[in-house]
Symmetry: C2
């Protein structure tokens, strides 16, 4: 009991997505999840955001393994970016491993990665930890949480779960395991906070089954259903309903095809012989025997659904009579793109069904009453809300307090904030590097706040570059100043303004006899003010003075 | 009955906000509403979006008046931009006039504008039209719809309405007037589609009253309530509840102060002597006697609420014990900013109450059952869904069809699409210029798709400007090429890359002996490819070749 246990959230605490938690005992580190998130509105040009893995990279010899809860990208998608800097074995259930392998292969890292298949109910010994995965029900099969036995006590991470007692495919959260952990005594619980704003109990997947049946019963033409490429359970439901209604199912989009093939190979998707067919074969079928499963629920511009909505899909062209089902909700920040996609689907004459109209999607996350149930079953000594934006963490903490937990035993912590445990209890214990690392093109971590600030500035008002060629001898203008601008004014109609700016700069050069730096400074501020006076805008003004 | 009637939506049909409808009979034009909208995510730097008013500007001598339904900016906020190009009298109820005057004064247009005060139940004769405003209940007092009598028949515009039978302040939609119009016979109805995705009936404002009482009962410290500065009814409720609970109300934010002062002067906001106090006076009161009404429900960076959330407000600093109420929902597209604001309010230790948790806001728009009621009461011959994004128009149209209207009598039209009526019926009849006009700084309509495309490109990947000074005589490089870049890479760490780009350009110049244009073309494509190979990014590459 002499050692020290530290829990360090590196992502998924205070934000959506990008889940990663460090559990450390006497220097030995295991990591639960290694997820990414998609950039927010003020991160233009960023492709992906991964957790700040500096702490792992700096302590690479102490990292003993990555334990991945399930196959969603916000839980394993950062592995290709983190592994090269902090390699360690990956522990995952069979289907989750399948998803990870698809990703690592894309990044040519599959050969060098060590992956260990685990299953709920097993015990994995890693350094001072005994890790027991336990089954949780989520919107993807084969999801688990982890009970991590440490010399100081049992630490539980819920993963993402709901208590769906009538799941259509996949399995329910293991109530008995949770109850048994509660009996054994749990030192600390980390649990998913995503739906801490939702009262009651998240509806069962069986509700979706009923809604799909309702739509299939009434659809006279083709049915196109969009969902996440990783939502194997949803595709399973579609396959089941399609079989009941005598329809064949085609898959559109590379990620959808890849994932379903993988899930089928591993036995996680069951379809009768002949139910799943190629897109080409669908063409030969009558419309009322066709279902297409595709991606695009987030309005992603290159997805199959958005291409159909814009009538730019190579193989699929929507027509009146088609029914389109969006079986997902917009991730916060994607609402505009999603709404635009739905509008365009309607413009093609399709009948569109989405969650505002009918329960064709349910959340995979526990709502408040389920959160209470988890807290009661597990009865932890300490509680750390995980997996949610800051307000959700606070609401989850307040919920735990409403069940009787003393506020000082509940830790609302964000990326990089350490909670330390010893024989005397738990306390906040400083920070390690937290926050974001941006992936942009081939660069991982090479752009940061400076570049993003510039991009946001350029987005608002564009730029004005002024090139002043000065004669080396006379310090006089060697030629007219050149002005180059984009994103500021519509050039074909701005000739007069540009001429005024040129003349203004020429005047400045004639007056200024100091250094180039002084001249640059005067042009920047003087031109900025003039531009603002004329247009009310504040483009980035970048003077360049060259000697010739 | 010989004339021709045309209805032309210029905004608010197929999008949110920016409402404007032209009603034209034998050349005479009246305009219902003249609203603006706030820019969407792919319109960076744009301050406001107004309807394309080209048709009005081109036919200015035929524009007889603007009839404004209510005091929200998406219904009158474009007047300052449109009036200078198409001046005509403005017809508005007293409170709506108050809002318009505030706006016109800001733009120094109040002196030149002609405003006529109207009231529900009156008849205004304008050219061939007899216009009758009728009372509607909405989230602002003194709102009306318009019944426009034309020689071809009665045209009804609902404005924005709900059937709230127990409004807390303000009045209900005039059921009897609508029934009477239905009896008289209505040629065409245009009606608000905003909530066409919502089943049932929009809750009454009295629900908000109850939620506020619940919060006031439990709050031990100060209460800060954020709502729209135009939401006079909500502020009235806050004043009422505050008086019941012995609290004083202060106003934070210029627009909030201005609007409330105006509404109070006109008698639309009632408060006991001493209930409304200055912010400074609040400081002297115990926390449990304080309410602050402020703006910022959309996460606007300069609003009072966001300043408090970021702890940068001059006069108000949040502290644990404060209760903050967000009494509004995010306008689509603002979700990220709103969520970030709520997160930061929690970070300050405040107790935050918002709609996901408690009904501290209800919509001002009719839901599907109310839409059916309106359609039944009015029983129009033709129906044109108005005021909503495209999917909402379609859903509203389908709703009308579900009540028995033949699909050919329902017109889903977007900005600029004309519906023409004559003795034989109604038909689509071509288009007039529609779409957006952007306001950016002082410019109205001077930036368009080209500039926005550039801004979006700059936002994603930044730019690289290359300046090549070539000797006039020898056509050789007069000096090393200069590279200027922003938003592309973090410069302090990109020295090697920049050096490579310079060397590459120098090589190109040495090889290329054609025109400057040819050289520019080669630099642009060659450098673009090289940059992409090294970084995976596609910045805007802008070469400039100057002779010296």
């Amino acid at each position: 009991m002499s050692g020290s246990l530290r829990i360090i959230p590196l992502g998924g605490y205070g934000e959506v997505g990008r889940n990663m938690t460090v559990i450390e005992y006497d220097g030995a580190i295991i990591v639960v999840d290694c997820g990414l998130m998609f950039p927010e509105g003020d991160m233009p040009g960023v492709d992906l955001v991964v957790p700040n893995f500096t702490y792992l990279a700096d302590n690479v010899e102490r990292v003993l393994g990555y334990f991945i809860t399930h196959g969603h990208e916000d839980h394993h998608g950062a592995l290709p970016y983190v592994l090269p800097h902090a390699p360690a074995p990956i522990y995952a259930t069979r289907l989750t491993r399948g998803f990870i392998e698809v990703k690592l292969k894309e990044h040519r890292l599959l050969g060098s990665a060590e992956i260990v298949t685990i299953a709920a109910g097993e015990t994995i010994e890693v350094g001072p930890f005994r890790v027991e995965p336990f089954r949780v029900g989520h919107s993807i099969p084969d999801a688990v949480g982890f009970a991590v036995d440490t010399p100081l006590g049992l630490v539980l991470h819920s993963g993402e779960y709901k208590f769906d007692l009538t799941p259509v495919s996949g399995k329910s959260t293991d109530l008995h395991a949770l109850a048994a952990y509660g009996q054994r005594g749990v030192l600390a619980l980390m649990a998913d906070s995503t739906n801490a704003e939702r009262h009651g109990h998240t509806p069962s997947e069986s509700v979706v089954r009923e809604a799909l049946e309702h739509v299939f019963e009434r659809a006279e033409g083709r049915i196109i259903l969009a969902t996440f490429a990783s939502n194997i359970s949803r595709v399973q439901e579609v396959v089941n309903v399609a079989e009941d209604f005598g329809r064949k199912v085609g898959l559109a989009g590379r990620s959808m095809e890849q994932n379903i093939a993988m899930a089928r190979n591993l036995g996680y998707l069951e379809a009768a012989e002949g139910t799943l067919v190629g897109l080409k074969e669908l063409d030969a079928l009558p419309d009322d025997e066709v279902v297409v499963c595709c991606t695009g629920t987030q309005g992603e511009p290159t997805s199959a659904l958005v291409r159909m909505a814009n009538d730019t899909h190579r193989d699929l062209s929507l027509r009146p009579g088609d029914t389109v089902i969006l079986s997902a909700t917009p991730i916060p920040g994607n609402e505009e793109l999603v709404h635009r996609t739905i509008d365009n689907l309607f413009r093609r004459g399709a009948h569109v069904v989405y969650q505002s109209l009918m329960p064709v999607h349910v959340s995979g996350h526990a709502s408040r009453e389920e959160m209470k149930l988890l807290l009661k079953l597990v009865s932890p000594r300490y509680f750390i809300p995980a997996g949610g934006e800051y307000r959700m963490l606070v609401l989850h903490a307040e919920l735990a307090e409403s069940l009787g937990m003393p506020p000082e035993d509940v830790f609302v912590v964000e990326s990089g904030e350490v909670v330390a445990f010893d024989g005397n209890g738990a306390r906040r214990d400083g920070t390690v590097p937290g926050g974001y690392i941006y992936v942009d093109g081939l660069g991982v971590g090479d752009i940061g706040e400076v570049v993003l600030r510039d991009r946001n500035h350029l987005a608002r008002d564009g730029f004005v570059v002024v090139v002043v060629a000065v004669d080396r001898q006379s310090a006089a203008l060697a030629r007219e100043p050149e002005i180059l601008t984009r994103g500021f004014v519509f050039l074909p109609e701005a000739g007069e303004l540009i001429a005024e700016l040129r003349a203004y700069v020429a005047d400045l050069v004639a007056q200024e006899h100091g250094s180039h730096d002084a001249l640059i400074g005067r042009i920047r501020s003087g031109l900025g003010d003039l531009v603002n006076k004329r247009t009310g805008r504040r483009p980035m003004v970048l003077p360049m003075v060259i000697d010739v």
